[in-house]
Amino acid sequence: MTTQVSQPASPVTGPLERAVNARKGKKLTTGRLGVIGLVVVLGAWQVTASAGWVDASFASSPVGAVKALAHMIGTGELWPPLLSTLESVAYGMIITVVVGIPLGLLIGRSNTLYGLTEPLVSIMYSVPFVVFLPIIIFWFGIGAEARLVIVVWSAIFPLLINVIAGARNVDMHYLQVAKVFCAPRLLTLRSVTFPATLPFVLTGVRQSVGRALVGAIVAELFMGNAGLGYVVQTETSAFKMDDAMAAIVVIAVLAIVLTRSVAWIERRFTFWSSSV
């Protein structure tokens, strides 16, 4: 994704430097720019809070949140909820990826399966799982198992929808090659449909990671006695907005770290792709 010398921004200026810096430069820049973007937003937030345009007792402020965070790190209070949340997310993502990608490819490449599952996927994605909480509790209790169900439920549908869409949009030419060589279904799925779908898969995984985090947090909000979501919940109800925001900051950092990992995988596996 990142090495295309043959595609400078238009208009082409300073071709030589560009060609030389292209690879390393761009990577660094993305990281730096991200920091800039964050700093701008945090700055704006701090300014609005300091200037009193928002009430810091509701919106907290970056300074307050960082102080609270530092305190949480200092006392070590941060680690148990963080680990608890990470555990849910990790297990949930493993299940989601292992189940979601092959299933999505299968559904996407079969008109019958697609027809059968399409409305179900729509429903499961569009009905907030909050309304199914009693059933989840009834079947899975309120422990780690139920949290896992919620994380997977939350994470798998964005992945499925993306993988299915990708599999249905695979370039016909690739499939024809597979067909002409009588490639077995599994090989076609693994070596043709999957790589051809990779941009969709990775977009799906990226969203899944986000949704897994949301799922974990919400599970903790809704049936928690542990985890970052639980911290947010209790601190908010005690109106300790700085502490709540500190937990949210941790969630945000998690989100960035997880997404970056996916981006790294993306670069690693789609280097052959021709764009950007």
């Binding site: 509701f58 909480l133 009693p134 509790i137 049936m223 928690g224 639980y230 919940q233 109800s237 109106f239």
Partner: protein, 319 residues
């Protein structure tokens, strides 16, 4: 329509003298029957108010709604709203229709007495909810700490009941008439918390709004007093409203709820400073700050006093 200007912070009053307001409450249940009756019987309208009732999911959302002036008067657990007051939202407590914890503890199987709950899992709706605060009071009364039980927050009543039935928690703390439903699943009542006095269901508004909207506050308090009297005197009307608003069309359940709440509803819903002080103390402990020495500054009993003084309250209970 959106009730008020956005982003104004806590000090943006609605148009001075406006008699239309939004009242926020934080749970569905018979506890708010006074509001339901006021709306159904046109009491607000009669007193010149144009009231819209709105459900908010938690007391912290209620605080935000009050501070942004999208809700003008809110009904919530005083201990939780007090945390907001300590956090800088300048609140006034206007009325306290129920001054006990109106929740019960239900359990399954062999747990029959409160003592057996030690070390067990308690299902609650959310942190800072009435049930949560009630459990805290009860723990203190038992001489236990919150290490002695395991609180689990499940957000909604059905989730609590499900968790109880599937054994995920050992007991749950709920508002009537939910518990009565639980009975159908084999649950039994372990204890109720009505014996603990508390600023349970307090009506709150921001100081600035209260100052700018004296007539509206008076009209609201007047309506409130009248509706409480209707609850006491007219069971049929009360049950109708309960059935209509709390979603319980089962007459038996509505009756049970009424029977539970009727003794709890105040006739004179004045804000008791001692109860409020206790709420503030609890909030302060939670927050790790000092409780205010004098909570009376947070109380605005003025309209009630004058209603009492001119005999209006008494007149409601004659005949």
């Amino acid at each position: 329509g959106k009730p008020a200007a956005a982003g104004g912070g806590g000090d943006a009053p609605a148009a001075a003298g406006s008699m239309s307001l939004t009242v926020g409450y934080t749970a569905i249940g018979a506890a708010y029957s006074d509001l339901y009756v006021c709306e159904d019987q046109g009491v607000f309208t009669k007193n010149g108010l144009d009231v819209k009732l709105t459900l908010l999911n938690s007391s912290s959302q209620l605080l935000a709604a009050l501070a942004s002036n999208s809700v003008q008067i809110g009904a919530g657990v005083a201990a939780t709203t007090a945390a907001g007051a300590l956090g800088g939202v300048d609140l006034r407590y206007l009325a306290l229709p129920i001054s006990n914890f109106y929740v019960e503890m239900w359990g399954m199987g062999d747990i029959t007495s409160p003592e057996q709950v030690k070390g067990k899992k308690i299902g609650l709706s959310s942190p800072g909810s009435l049930g949560d605060t009630a459990v805290d009071a009860w723990l203190k009364d038992q001489g236990w700490t919150d290490k002695d039980v395991q609180k689990t927050f499940l957000k909604s009543t059905p989730a609590e009941v499900t968790a109880l039935q599937s054994g995920a928690v050992d007991v749950i703390v709920t508002q009537p008439p939910t518990g009565t439903t639980t009975r159908n699943f084999g649950a039994h009542k372990i204890t109720d918390f009505t014996k603990y006095p508390a600023a349970a269901n307090a009506y709150t508004a921001t100081a600035s709004w209260t100052q700018a909207n004296g007539p509206a506050v008076e009209a609201f308090v007047k309506s409130e007093v009248e509706c409480l009297s209707m609850l006491h005197k007219d069971k049929a009307t009360a049950i109708d409203s309960i059935r209509k608003h709390s979603g319980t069309d089962d007459p038996e359940l509505a009756d049970a709820a009424y029977t539970f709440f009727e003794p709890l509803w105040a006739k004179d819903p004045k804000v008791e400073p001692t109860l409020l002080a206790a709420a503030f103390a609890q909030a302060a402990a939670e927050k790790g700050t000092d409780a205010p020495a004098d909570v009376t500054t947070y109380i605005d009993n003025g309209p009630l006093q004058s209603l009492r003084a001119d005999g209006y309250i008494d007149s409601l209970y004659k005949s």
